[in-house]
Amino acid sequence: MTLWALAWRNVTRHRRRSLLTGGVVVFGFAAFALAGGFMAQSLEGLREGTIRSGMGHLQVADPAEFEGGSEGTLEHALPRAAEVEAILRADSEILEVMPRIDFVGLLTNGKRSVPFLGVGLDPPPEGRTMDHPKTLLEGRWLLDRSERGVILGAGLAKTLSLRVDDTVTLLATTGDGTLNAVDATVAGLADIPIKELDDRFLATSLGLASDLLAASGRVSKLVIVLRDTGGVGPARQRIRQALGARGIEAAVKGWEELAQFYRQVRVLYIGIFGFMGLVLVAVVLLAVANIMLMAAAERTREIGTLRAIGTRSGFIRRMFLAEGIVMAALGCAAGALLSLALRVVLNHSGIMLPPPPGATHGMPLHVKIYGVAYAAGALAMLATLALASWFPARRASRMPIIEALAHV
């Protein structure tokens, strides 16, 4: 009879104890798998939300543009923008290349003027790939590159008492320092989650922005949307090489480098779930250690017998350890089934979660099958049961044989 066969026999024959221990492991594992799946789903949602909020997967700009501190309009425009755009469009992994002009100016309703943070963009691809149209409270998204319309943050519109279809005037300084103004129509009002930005946000077509700023084909940056988020690293590498080969001095940054907020939330999530995981392991450890100690005490005589007839202490310790591992493996298997079943129930429950940080809308509770969480759960349960088994086993194997045999 091998060590594992004996361990299996002990686990299956001591049913009450095994069910108790297994129950704790099932609960622990399922909690790990579900919490990890929820965290992964939340982070994935936040990641895609960040990318679709306007960040894109990659951005190409003059290196100084990324560092900020621009003094004048289009001071750090992307060099050889048309050539860069052509290079990017040749890459089959790139879904969209979207030029943008970032600028500041004054918005006036004829009576009052308010400063704004503006972006000139190419409306059709931006509408297809970004969440801009979804943020609209009223009106419609811009139609094309030459449209004379603007989308305003709801806060900015409120400050100037503007409504959809009202006419406004945009004032800004051109690249050569001249003050310029153009008229536009309010096409829509957007709900921007950050109030400070909501009070200053203005989006317009690339054509109108270009006219206002006398940009003459210059753009601040090119925003890239890939076919697959996982391809950011290789795409960045390819683009850098392609631009370098043409001698174009432009910086390429991935969304994660640009999304400081996402990085902070990610660290926060990992911290919260890591702490929860530790608490869970501690609870499982205490519960299982207690059961194992009781089991070892109940089996003191049996251990004494095994040692009397020639079983080495090391074998006794390994036997307990093997029992712990067998119970952990069975518990994890049952826990995996339970978490898969609970996942289906939760994902169909329709429970809405409050808006995550930086978002205006809540999202439905959704738990992903996250392999890392399953692996971490299994590893944590195995380690916990091994630890919980080790100490009573050590105690039992060190007890004098005659004491163990006389144990009542």
Partner: protein, 233 residues
């Protein structure tokens, strides 16, 4: 020294064995200098009332405990300096044990209980099983090989324990009150079995008991009183 002289050498001996237990702050002397020699094929009964030191002597001779004074000699060599693993291996290979409370492993069947010491020794599983079945047949339990201990009667359990004790062809079987929990008829059967095995296989038996039926059938009786030999070793 001839071959016969070697055969007459004790395989197991205790010289000046003393053992004192601590019960809280009280020291209770259980053995106070006992000398005993066991030869191949012996059937020695250690007799005495409760508290006389019988179990302590069995424990010391079976290498289950270490004496405070004196020494246990196996093949004339003291075992006191041996580590726990070496003693475990000696118990597995050269000793067999029969306890008053049967002490079978509850999760194993009768056959598995008997096979266990052989598996510990590293014998192939198939051989362990075949040998276990033969031994169970020898002790009259051919029909009960796949039954767990909790479903066996007291007499059957003790027969399984005896089969387990002789599984690795030991030189010495130590039995501590083997009939104490059995009725007269069953006890008599168990006793017959031990005597038969002693005769058939030349296994030495050391039986601690205060059962007069066993004493009556002993080849040699060692009487203990208050931790000392009362005569006869």
């Amino acid at each position: 020294m001839g071959l016969q002289d070697f055969a007459d050498e004790p395989i197991l001996a205790g010289a000046g064995l003393t053992r004192t237990y601590r019960l809280g702050s009280t020291r209770v002397p259980a053995l106070k200098g006992v000398d005993i020699e066991i030869r191949r094929g012996d059937f020695v009964v250690v007799q005495g009332p409760s508290g006389s030191g019988k179990t302590t002597l069995i424990n010391l001779l079976g290498l289950l405990d270490r004496p405070d004074g004196g020494s246990v000699l196996l093949d004339g060599r003291p075992v006191g300096a041996m580590d726990e693993d070496t003693l475990a291996d000696l118990r597995r290979d050269r000793f067999g044990f029969v306890f008053q409370t049967f002490s079978l492993v509850p999760v194993l069947t009768a056959a598995e209980n008997v096979a266990y010491p052989m598996a510990l020794k590293g014998l192939p599983e198939r051989e362990c099983r075949q040998r276990a079945l033969r031994l169970l047949e020898r002790v009259g339990l051919a029909e009960r090989t796949e039954v767990r201990p909790d479903l066996l009667s007291g007499g059957e359990r003790q027969r399984v324990a005896i089969a387990r004790a002789i599984a690795n062809d030991p030189e010495v079987v130590l039995a501590d009150e083997p009939t104490a929990n059995l009725d007269s008829e069953t006890a008599s059967g168990v006793l017959d079995l031990m005597r038969d095995l002693n005769t058939e296989r030349g296994v030495s038996f050391i039986v601690a008991t205060h059962d007069p039926r066993i004493v009556a059938r002993a080849r040699r009786v060692v009487a203990l009183r208050d931790g000392r030999m009362a005569g006869g070793a």
